[in-house]
Symmetry: C2
Subunit: 138 residues, 2 copies
Amino acid sequence: MDLDTAVGYVLKRATVALRAAMDTALREHDLTVPQYSCLEQLAHRPGLTNAELARGTFVSRQAMHQLLATLRSTGLVHGDGGGRHERFTLTSDGARRLAGASAAVAAVQERMLTPLDPQQRQRLHADLTACANALNQP
Amino acid sequence: MDLDTAVGYVLKRATVALRAAMDTALREHDLTVPQYSCLEQLAHRPGLTNAELARGTFVSRQAMHQLLATLRSTGLVHGDGGGRHERFTLTSDGARRLAGASAAVAAVQERMLTPLDPQQRQRLHADLTACANALNQP
DNA sequence: CAGTATATGTCAAGATATTGACGTGAGTCA
DNA sequence: TGACTCACGTCAATATCTTGACATATACTG
């Protein structure tokens, strides 16, 4: 059995499983995974722009564009009206919703990491980061 | 910094990077990633059905359905005409195309795993499998 | 054996994301 | 300063995938 290609396979398998679990967990908070991801980014680094959020969430600028439109119409994020290079922040409503959603997501990820002890978790984090870096610099 | 949620983040980051790299590598062989995934499955286990291929490739039955339709019209796969529960196999053309594509994908994954020694690779494989299993059995 | 449940193939529709393209502002360098 | 490049925001169109639905075949159960 070819281990190298199998690593890609289990990587996809784990991602799909995580995505599905997050999806069901977030449904109770009326958020999709990209929406949650966007809110989380804004919580850690307020004042990000559309393009920056898109990169951090791994979607295209266009997708983030209309994702922000819905989040804004729902009153979860707030733009500073700076026509070009507009910067976004969480509203108090957005912060509240994120708090609940974040707890739900944390529970999911804890379930995912259950079989791993803290040292293994750190190793996994480091190894995945190394793999991503290796691919991103040709 | 919250390591647990960060694991989910780097997992997505690695997956996106791998997906993009595979996409560009496969473009020279006129294959999309799901198409390649389907062909690879059929190479390892000939005679799979639509639903089985869908599960192995992590897409819906419907997506695999029309994915198989295009692969069949291109002459890369061949169904045994068994109306219901039809079983699929690679054509000789499909096997040839897969050979080239498989080498390209192997090169991509080798580049991804460059920073890891064989022991680390095996660990990564085991850890990811454990994570996926933990999520898939509530 | 009859009846129910489960899984499959397939059609239609809807949602979501990507690609392409355009105008515009910011930074760079001669 | 002026030309050039690059990144950004945004509109439109295209492709892709998922959800919903239905008929049917297989498996299970009493």
